[in-house]
Symmetry: none
Subunit: 219 residues, 4 copies
DNA sequence: AATGAATGAGTGTTCATTCAT
DNA sequence: CATGAATGAACACTCATTCAT
């Protein structure tokens, strides 16, 4: 009996997770193609092949749903940055070039892991002022973003102290690195159709990396 | 008598222009703080201290009003780029550093001339896919954007031919330059409050300029 | 001097009347093609080549303007009916056929005199319930319509008394005659394009006349 | 269990139909008293005692709602006419009088079945030129109207061939019959208050029938 | 007398969210 | 847990009418 119940409970849980995932997938697709405001819960429900109230079962409001998509990416950037910082603290970097490479790839890997969600992050970044979200959600995400900047600055500062990078304002530099990356992603988004996008971005990113290494790495 | 009428007509004209300007100002402010979709004509009217139908007397639709704000900036970037190209053709550049400086300042000056409108352009760039604007408006602005890219690429190519810049893919490079600029503006927008924004942007931009010169200019 | 003033006054008066007429013409055209509600004062002003407030100089409201078009036609039907009645009282009819002919032609002539206004009357008839007109206007026109019915019934009654028409309910008969006429005009309006309309109406009307004579006239 | 669900589903269906009906009833009433353009969705909602968006759950747009009222009547006229035609083809008419009687009653029965909707049809007929309805709706109804005319003409032609009716132009005659009928309905509408209307129409219609039989039927 | 400009009061339609089952 | 149905609150856009000149 207990066994039986447990099995049932687990199936339930799995179904629940699958359902949540299908909602997230549908939402991501629609948000991305229509933007936050033009996206309707109806359309998400339709695409997820469930009814509208069911979405509300799992996500309190439209913006909670949106943030559920955003947050993992933001966290991923943070985790990747953490790795770089640890490696740096452990003294494992022998050249500025490889450090810059890893910093930029912390962004790029997060992007590649889930490009759609990454674009959603940018969508949020640019339009965040307009939102009427519950303070809770807003703070949570701002905090995570904040954290990423801090890690980034610590990394750069340490890299300069270790003589890997040329000395300069770390506040400005981290903005440049992150700005450069998101700027490029946006530009390629606008210019290219979906298929070309990936390749274009790849080659543009490669060049950007080379340039930043030339400009920032010592030697 | 005739004199009198003429005077009146001129006052009317002036009043008309002032009113248009006040609508544009109000619209700019609201679009910027709320985004296109969240902006209501009512709010613009309120801020401009006129009634809603009065807006419609001067601007046919919401998106015509929006484009009236966007287009001058886009054109300004084009004009500034044209100047650089002419100077380059005239052989007036003696260093890659000054060329890169001028290219980036073509963006920066356009930005400084009217930062709010510039941000509106970026807002448009990132969210344009989802719009239901009259094809006419959309095409007009896409075209102007296209033009700017072309001029940029011509400049870079010529700069390389003249030995001012290191040789590299001009398609990628122009995307990097423009992406870097808009990326930085966005980042500073998100992070800082209005007052700090200007200074932060200024110093970050300066550093970005230095870095790009190091990386791209020959010698 | 007096002479001079008088001449001026008369020119003024003539201009005034011309202006009024041009407004009426424009209004008639627009009301007819768009219906009362879809007609805008702007469009009338445009077509009359004057400004909107000028219309209001001559006509207090939109519905006053509309009634100014309606009333003459209604009055014309009354006058034509009066003529028939007088002729009948004078014993000038020797056959029911000619009496029926004249009654129907009282309608038809009013129609032909100004078909557009006549259609406006019908437009009003069918939609009158919906109007928010000043009681004054409404009563005035209802009264005139009422009068026409009364005359019609007197004529029919007298025609029967004189042995020209077969005996039947005059209330029903006048409704049939008038209903038949407006019904036909409407049907032809719907079915035909402007050019064919006239001929179609003409021949259908002729047949209707024949049929009514057969059915109503004695011998 | 299954039984239970089925019962529920059926109750739902019934409720749905009731709601649709209550919307249609409310709409009919308002359209009729105000005309199409003056009618607001708000007022319909108010009268149906539901909220405005609920109407939109069942009817996509205002004109779809309007057409939902119009179409059944138009179809009914068609069906009644079809019956007459079949009877005629089967050689079941032995007098012109009974044929004319049946033709007119095809109209009259359609009217009596749902007088309000019938009036709506007339409202549409007279004002259709000015509408901005989806082509689809417009064409659909025009077509049905067209069809009715065609059947009518076929009937008349056959009636003449069978020697039941006097020979005359069928195009003109069908217009006269239909015009006479709608004309009478309109006249009675304008003149009488709701209560008297029915009786007045009844007696006027009877007389009209007699007259047309006298005029059109052979012998 | 004529007009450019302004506006109050609507309209149809949409959508996030909530009930009732 | 899932859903059909309902709705309050908006929103872009329109138009008869009125001022100020």
């Amino acid at each position: 009996m207990t066994m039986h119940k447990k099995v049932i409970r687990e199936r339930r849980k799995k179904e629940r997770e699958q359902r949540i995932q299908s909602i997230l997938d549908a939402a991501s697709e629609v948000f991305l193609s229509k933007g936050y405001l033009k996206t309707t819960m109806d359309e998400i429900a339709l695409k997820a092949e469930i009814s509208k109230p069911t979405i509300y079962q799992y996500f309190e409001t439209k913006d909670v749903l949106f943030f559920s998509l955003i947050i993992p990416v933001t966290e991923m950037v943070g985790k990747e940055s953490d790795k770089v910082e640890k490696k740096l603290i452990a003294g494992e970097y022998t050249s500025g070039a490889s450090l810059i490479h890893d910093i930029l790839h912390a962004f790029y890997e997060s992007y590649k892991m889930d490009p759609e969600s990454f674009r959603l992050v940018m969508l949020f970044q640019q339009t965040h002022m307009a939102w009427e979200m519950k303070e809770q959600s807003r703070l949570s995400i701002m905090e995570k973003g904040q954290y990423n900047y801090e890690v980034g600055r610590r990394i750069l500062r340490l890299g300069m102290e270790q003589g890997l990078l040329r000395s300069m304002d770390v506040y400005a530099l981290i903005d440049i690195l992150w700005g450069l990356f998101v700027g490029i992603v946006q530009i390629e988004d606008i210019k290219a159709t979906k298929k070309e996008r990936r390749e274009n971005l790849e080659s543009t990113f490669k060049l950007a990396e080379t340039l930043m290494i030339d400009a920032v790495a010592k030697n």
